[in-house]
């Protein structure tokens, strides 16, 4: 029953503007992959093409051994959960859930039984006879989920399903979605602009920008080892410092940032280092100290973070955010050096 989804070389245009550029993803059977990106990055377009609501300019969509590319939307057998729930306002909760079964020609008693047990699973059987207008946002989204799951689709797709819910409910619902998805082993594609949501719910996340996938990997890898500057800044690497190698001595490479600050890196830690690279760190990857090998800086505003102090610093290589120990609070204007913590740093190729 569980099959894989393969999206091959998908391109799409809105008018003459390209919105997807040669995009390929494959989602393994039973896997949940999120498409993550800001609005306009093409994530929703991808979902709508897979659903059959949009036609791609080129490329193919395959589900298991079925080629969906030219199949009409109603024949694709995909469960869809929408951002605004999209419940049928004229049908009761029970009728909403049974809708897909009815289209499949399933007899009424069987329909009621299956829709009933699905409502049970999402904990809404007591609301079966209500109209959607009498439900809260969370209840509506549960009905939408039940409606999509009850047809036992080989592929589930979610289009920002939690954006209309309040913060606490969002966390509860995403756990619930993940549990139902895992229990059914349904291959899923999940579209969101919320990084925390994507990272917490997915097996793998595709970070998208301008119609392309910038990196597709597990949340752990994305968070610790972004593949490029875009992904790095997306996952919270505040500091991207371009550097140039000035000398190599065995495994140790010395590189210079703009303004002449020199740092050395071990190729045992970072692997082979090219002549031009970008040093990417979060604030906790640079420590403000009085001595050591680092980037000379003048410390600015100090913020208390609980585990550390954070400083906005002015350096010859530009503005940098760094952390400092709680034991040594520095006042604004203090001169210091920002010393990299190798395990918190990434070395990236410069942007093309």
């Amino acid at each position: 029953m569980t099959v894989s989804l393969t999206i091959e070389n998908l391109s799409a245009h809105y008018g003459s503007t390209p919105v997807l550029k040669d995009l390929s993803i494959s989602v393994a059977a039973g896997e949940l992959v999120s498409l993550l990106g800001s609005s306009g990055c093409g994530k929703t377009t991808t979902l709508r093409i897979v659903a059959g609501f949009l036609e791609p300019t080129s490329g193919r969509v395959r589900l298991g051994d079925r080629d969906l590319t030219t199949l009409p939307a109603h024949a694709r057998d995909i469960g869809l959960v929408f951002q605004n729930y999209a419940l049928f306002p004229h049908l009761t909760v029970m009728e909403n859930v049974a809708f897909g079964l009815k289209q499949r020609g399933i007899a009424k008693p069987d329909r009621a039984k299956r829709a009933g047990s699905m409502l049970d699973r999402v904990g809404l059987s007591h609301l079966a006879d209500r109209l959607p207008s009498a439900l809260s946002g969370g209840q509506k989204q549960r009905v939408a989920l039940a409606r999509a799951l009850v047809i036992e689709p080989p592929l589930l797709m979610f289009d920002e399903p939690l954006s209309n819910l309040d913060a606490k409910l969002r966390v509860d619902m995403r756990v619930e979605i993940r549990q139902l998805q895992k229990a059914n082993g349904t291959t899923s594609l999940y579209v969101t602009h919320d990084q925390e949501e994507a990272f917490s719910i997915s097996d793998r996340v595709a970070i998208m920008n301008a119609g392309r996938i910038m990196q597709l990997d597990t949340p752990e890898v994305l968070y610790r080892k972004p593949a490029n500057a875009f992904v790095a800044s997306f996952v919270g690497f505040e500091n991207l410092v371009p550097m140039k190698v000035v000398s190599r001595d065995g495994a140790t490479v010395t590189a210079e940032a703009a303004g002449g600050a020199r740092l050395s890196f071990s190729q045992d830690v970072f692997g082979a280092i090219k002549d031009d690279f970008v040093l990417a760190t979060r604030a906790d990857g640079l420590v403000a100290r009085q001595s050591g090998e680092g980037i000379p800086a003048t410390l600015g505003t100090r913020t208390y973070l609980g585990r550390a102090y954070q400083y906005k610093c002015v350096t010859v290589a530009g503005e940098i955010t760094a952390n400092g120990a709680l034991s040594e609070p520095y006042d604004p204007g203090t001169s210091a050096v920002l010393v990299p913590v190798p395990e918190q740093c990434c070395i990236l190729d410069p942007e093309a």
């Binding site: 024949a75 869809l80 004229h90």
Partner: protein, 274 residues
């Protein structure tokens, strides 16, 4: 102060309606009960006259048929318009509403020219050799219905386009994703959601055609009198003011009854209402 503002602002309109409409209508109806032969004598007379009840039934029949045809034509047109892209949609709506810019008499008169003995339809059919004698299409129920449908379809299109545009795209997509064919989506989702609009449109067309005067006068003539033309004849030709008031009272009651029933149905069927 707030309260005064709320009521005060509606005062001019309220006074105008009461003075110019409510009081005259009540006075008109009151005169029908003041006959020496008994309070309901004029009504008994009306319903005992085959001639007059025939006109009532004909009026009801024409109004209902006009409403039904307008619903179908209006719905199909509105469905197409609602799915058009923005610019084209505005043009289509303007085109649909364009006839409303001329008067009812002018538009009814146009059908005299089209359907007349030497009209466009007869000329065309005769020149094509399909008929040898001109058809007499005027002064039939059919000619009245055709003209009224033409008059009222724009109203229906306008009402229904709004309603159909209000059906969220995602709801249609949800239906599609659940395996409903386009036809199933139409009958199980779009049509049920449009029912309130269909009823509002039906109310507009029914009241308009039930009470019409100019169209049956021009295209129905003496043979195909409707309540409106009968009323005019009673009041202005035979000067039977009480008889005319009776007809007016019956029309008011029937119109109110139909509108009430329809708007009740609309309210019950409106799933969007909270």
């Amino acid at each position: 102060m707030k309260r005064f503002a709320k009521w005060g602002l509606t005062m001019p309109a309220t006074i105008a309606v009461v003075v110019a409409l409510v009081i005259p209508v009540l006075l008109t109806i009151a005169t029908t009960f003041g006959e020496p032969k008994g309070a309901f004598s004029t009504y008994t007379a009306f319903f005992n006259s085959g001639f007059r009840t025939n006109i009532l039934y004909r009026t009801l029949r024409i109004a209902l048929i006009t409403t039904a045809i307008s619903l179908v034509i209006g719905f199909l047109t509105a469905y197409v318009i609602a799915r058009m892209p923005g610019r084209l949609k505005s043009i289509a709506i303007i085109a649909a509403v364009f006839p409303l810019l001329t008067g009812v008499v002018v538009r009814s008169f146009a059908w005299l020219i089209i359907l007349g003995k030497n009209g466009i339809v007869n000329d065309t059919l005769m020149s094509l050799g399909i008929i040898s004698e001109p058809l007499s299409m005027l002064y039939t129920e059919g000619s009245v219905i055709v003209a009224m449908v033409y008059l009222f379809v724009p109203l229906m299109i306008l009402t229904l386009t709004g309603v159909l545009e209000g059906v969220p795209r995602e709801v249609v997509e949800a239906s599609t994703s659940l395996g409903a064919t386009p036809i199933a989506t139409f009958f199980q989702v779009i049509l049920p959601l449009a029912v309130p609009g269909l009823i509002v449109g039906a109310v507009l067309v029914f009241t308009g055609s039930f009470t019409s005067y100019a169209t049956p006068q021009l295209l129905g003539g003496e043979q195909m009198m409707m309540m409106g033309t009968l009323l005019y004849q009673r009041a202005m030709v035979t000067f039977d003011w009480v008889g005319a008031s009776t007809i007016a009272a019956i029309m008011v009651v029937i119109t109110i009854a139909v509108v009430t029933i329809m708007s009740r149905m609309a309210r019950r069927l409106n799933p969007m209402a909270v």
